[in-house]
């Protein structure tokens, strides 16, 4: 966000890519559910929203002292979707600027997986989807970092225990130790190390999304609830 306000085109573009990376999924899902958009329309609206935001510099008007960035972004998004629908205009995709590649089918699959849970509080929904996106990004970085250091086993402990999709399928420390050929104590230590690194990466990712120390402080506190 700081870089988005800076004069350098490369910095601005990099900051914008980070922003799209953090928010495209929550935006897509939100448009699908709140605005009852078809998958194709939601994909167009998501691309169009970020494209317009980049061209018109939407986010430079954000004042961290007045609202959270997520709230601001959602307000901009609601305005954009409402205006687009009112004008019944077809969205132009691309427009000479290539956005970062977005695999909307992945978000659509996630939505189907989540089907069945009714959304009655879109603010809370958007926050939760942003959190999911933040954790997924940090988990991706964690995997890459451990693989690069030759510690894929450490990520495996974290993945199988903390990222287990279902509580019922979650292994015990002893089972995990057997599966991975470790002692239970090693599982405990590896898990603690992986969690510590995961926490650091989450905060690092969050820091990249915040314009100021105050905003980061507020976001960290929202995270630690």
């Amino acid at each position: 966000m700081v870089a988005m306000r800076s004069a350098g085109a490369d910095d601005r573009r990099a900051a914008f890519d980070a922003l799209v990376g953090a928010y495209w999924k929550p935006v897509f899902k939100y448009v699908r559910l709140k605005w009852h958009a078809s998958p194709e329309d939601a994909a167009d609206l998501t691309q169009g929203f970020f494209l317009r935001a980049f061209e018109k510099d939407f986010f430079s008007g954000f004042d961290p002292s007045r609202a959270r960035f997520r709230t601001y972004l959602r307000t901009c998004l609601d305005g954009f979707v409402a205006n687009t629908r009112k004008a019944d205009a077809r969205l132009k995709r691309g427009g000479g600027v290539t956005l970062i590649p977005i695999d909307f089918s992945e978000a659509e699959r996630e939505l189907r997986y989540q089907a069945g849970s009714l959304v009655d509080d879109f603010d809370a929904y958007f926050h939760r989807e942003w959190l999911r996106s933040l954790f997924a990004s940090a988990a991706g970085r964690l995997r890459a970092a451990f693989t690069e250091r030759g510690r894929a086993d450490r990520f495996a402990v974290f993945e199988q225990y903390d990222l287990a999709p279902d509580d019922g399928e979650r292994p015990t420390y002893a089972e995990l130790a057997r599966r991975l050929g470790l002692s239970p104590t090693e599982v405990t230590n590896e898990l603690a190390a992986a969690r510590r690194e995961f926490r650091r990466l989450v905060l690092e990712t969050l820091r990249e999304q915040c314009a100021t120390d105050e905003e980061f402080e507020a976001e960290s506190q929202a995270l630690t609830g």
Binding site: D162, L163, P165, A192, R195, R196, R199, L203, D213, T224
Partner: protein, 287 residues
Amino acid sequence: MISEPALDRLSAMFRGPDVAGTRYELISVLGRGGMGTVYLARDTVLDREVALKVVERPWLDANEARTLARLEHPGIVPVHDFGELPDGRLFYAMKRVRGDRLDRWLASGRDLADRLGVFLRVCDAVAFAHAHQVVHRDLKPENVMVGEFGEVLVLDWGIAGHPQNADGQQQIAGTPDYMAPEQARGETVDHRADIFALGAMLESFAETAPVLAIARKARSDVPEARYQDVQAMAADINRFLAGRAVRAHRERLVDRLARFGRRYRLPILLVLTYLMVRVLLLWFLRL
């Protein structure tokens, strides 16, 4: 994709520290800051309440914790314990201090002499830490407690060391209103960053020109223009309390005379009374 149960699990990892297997039980949150959260906790071994600070980022290492634990001074909250929680976060347990935070204590309407008395005790604790090569780096009224028995304690020495990120770079920590310019720029700081913070604290409740002058000297932008140690600053405050000229303030003649009058009120009254009696006696004798 991160499933709903996994999302709940990961969120829980950030909400509260995992104290399972430790001697502490969490009771409530006492306060939150940039460096971590302070919990009211029970030490189940000694059956007493402690303040448990859980550090979100690696501000502390064991050496720094040992340094803090060695700072035994009546104005510094003692550290009882230090360690790593099962979730990888670091913690340290401190004495739980009951009383008022200095910002609230100041807001409850105290006279300047009382305020300066408390401030001098803060200076005393900070000077002691500096003598042990420990810089607080986040001094502010919210980090000072005025206890039930009038004791004054400086808290939150959590960033007293040299916080660095994973790449070994200096981290910027502190509170903007009290942060020295060199600290805000992320440069290496020394004890004079604390003197700047003390100046900012003093300025927040200074009412008279000499005290304001002390505060402003302490919070000069350039470290070399500040008091070079806390004792020098405290000495100037003591001079003010004793009715003497402070070194940070160039007085006008009228202010000097007024201060002289206040300081020597009784002798001046006695001399004036004596002179009046002499004049009256002479006048009567001439009649």
